[in-house]
């Protein structure tokens, strides 16, 4: 019985994903709703991302400085920090924050709409709630995550620069020149693509959990909670897979 339920669930998720992907290639697009959701995504996460990325930049710089100094390789600091931020730290911080912030939000929003039969009401008035509610949200997270990651990278590097600047008053131009020469196109592209996948996963998991939320108010809480947990796990899985793929190109 448990195996059967599990398999049914897998089939259900598969159908959900297929539906979403079909809608990606199937106009009409919900342009207005997508734009609205994009703003909501930015609104909800920008403060937290700024805050954590800035501090992560400072902490990372301060912690790697002594070990570089012990090799007399302090001048490598910008290159080390920039690669760490662009390749890994920026996407990861953004991904996790968005998983927490957006995953729970989407899960709870759609969950309460499901529980109070608002989604059914849209369904019976023939207003295609799936593309309006689900596809627009997933599109928004997929589009916005790469942007947010770029933003997080910049903020983290600023944090790092200010730390360096505080210690040995090196110039802004010099620091970011160093950063620019050390970050490759591959670094940037792979990080953007990876973060688009993060965004897709967050939107998908949140919507699925909300759309299939159990009846009753506890259902909404459960939906929000599982959305966060599962999308966080997925972010690490995607991070790992992304690393493998990028390594193929790096050689």
């Amino acid at each position: 019985m448990r195996l059967r339920n599990f398999l049914l669930r897998v089939a259900d998720i598969h159908r959900f994903v297929v539906q979403v992907i079909k809608h990606f290639f199937m106009p009409p697009y919900e342009v207005r709703e997508i734009i609205r959701q994009c703003f909501a995504v930015g609104n909800r996460s920008l403060f937290l991302i700024t805050f954590t990325a800035f501090i992560a930049g400072i902490v990372f710089t301060r912690q790697s400085r002594p070990s570089l100094a012990s090799f007399g390789a302090e001048s490598w600091l910008p290159s080390l920090v920039s690669q760490a931020v662009v390749r890994s730290l920026g996407p990861l911080i953004t991904g996790l924050i968005c998983a927490g912030k957006l995953g729970s939000n989407i899960g709870a929003e759609l969950g309460s709409m499901q529980v109070s039969e608002q989604i059914d009401a849209m369904e019976v008035s023939g207003t295609r709630p799936f593309s309006y509610l689900v596809v627009s949200r997933i599109t928004a997270t997929t589009l916005m995550l790469p942007l947010l990651v770029v933003y997080a990278d910049v903020v983290a590097l600023l944090g790092s620069f200010m730390t360096v600047n505080f210690i040995n008053s090196s110039s802004f131009a010099l620091y970011f020149n160093e950063v620019a020469t050390n970050v490759t196109y591959l670094d940037v592209f792979s990080s953007l693509i990876k973060s688009a996948f993060f965004g897709f996963a967050i939107g998908l998991v949140g919507s699925y959990a909300g759309y299939h939320s159990e009846k009753g108010t506890t259902g909404v809480g459960k939906a929000a909670n599982s959305a966060v947990v599962i999308s966080m796990i997925l972010i690490f899985v995607i991070d790992l897979l992304g690393l493998q793929v990028t390594n193929i190109f790096r050689r």
Binding site: S112, M113, S116, E117, Q118, D120, A121, M122, E123, V124, S125, G126, T127, R128, Y132
Partner: protein, 260 residues
């Protein structure tokens, strides 16, 4: 389990020549191990108010959700306006759903939108009406029909339960449905508000010539609105007739309803 003889012969009915607008035949639905509907039958005639009376949890909501294709039954057939609900493709189903209004038990107003946006939502997204004046006119008419024109810019959270029910009804009326399905329109309301809703149901029929299924366990609402009553007991249509006829029943399942 038995069901009344009349149901085995389709379409025509003792009442006369009126057209059937919806039929349900031998509908069965279980959730897990729990059998909810065990062979439900009904016919809905043109411009009649059919009340479905039954206790909580007997599957009344499940029945009408099946009728609009929200829940897929395990077996049985449902025809609405001459179309088999479960053989339609998504576009055909949407077209059919435009003609069937569904008033939800919990109103189901979109709580992130104002009353106006709630009513405009199906107009814009289904009928593709974007003209401002046209929208305004349709929205105000529908709200006036339910006596709530003054709430147009309020959020659902600011409305009382009875007002929400009426806005929910307005939101379905705006599409000018041929069939209305009311899921417990008076539950949780005081007797006076209930009476207002009952009158609303009657006036909707007058104005829009709708055929309606009204689900309720409120006996005074059944008395007020029904042309005919079907008692849904233990997942089946146990008995049917006018309010007067059923109120004389001695059936142990049904009698308590009338002896409130």
């Amino acid at each position: 389990m038995h069901y009344p003889e009349t149901y085995t012969s389709t379409s025509h009915h003792a009442e006369g020549e009126r057209n059937v607008v919806a039929t349900v035949r031998n509908l069965k639905k279980s959730f897990g191990d729990r059998e909810v509907l065990k062979g439900m039958n009904l016919d809905l005639y043109e411009s009649e108010n059919l009340v479905i009376l039954g206790r909580s949890g007997t599957g009344k909501s499940v029945l009408i959700k099946c009728m609009v294709g929200l829940i897929r039954p395990d077996s049985g057939t449902i025809e609405v306006l001459g179309q088999n609900v479960f053989s339609l493709n998504p576009d055909e189903l949407n077209a059919l759903r435009l003609q069937v209004g569904f008033s939800f038990q919990g109103s189901a107003l979109y709580d992130s939108m104002t009353v106006r946006e709630n009513l405009e939502f199906p107009l814009k997204r289904n009928l593709k009406i974007f003209d401002k004046h046209k929208l305004e006119e349709l929205v105000t008419t529908a709200l006036e029909d339910v006596g709530l024109a003054h709430t147009i810019n309020q959020m659902p959270a600011e409305l009382s339960g009875g007002m929400k029910k009426r806005v929910g009804i307005a939101r379905t009326l705006i599409l000018k449905p041929k069939i209305m399905l009311y899921d417990e329109p008076t539950s949780g309301l005081d007797p006076i508000t209930s009476m207002e809703i009952n009158d609303l149901i009657l006036s909707v029929r007058e104005k829009y010539k709708t055929s309606s299924i009204i689900i309720t366990h409120d006996i005074s609402s059944a008395k007020h609105t029904s042309d005919r009553i079907i008692a849904l007991i233990d997942g089946q249509n146990k008995m049917e007739g006018t309010f007067e006829a059923l109120s004389e029943t001695t059936d142990p399942d049904l009698e308590p309803f009338f002896k409130y």
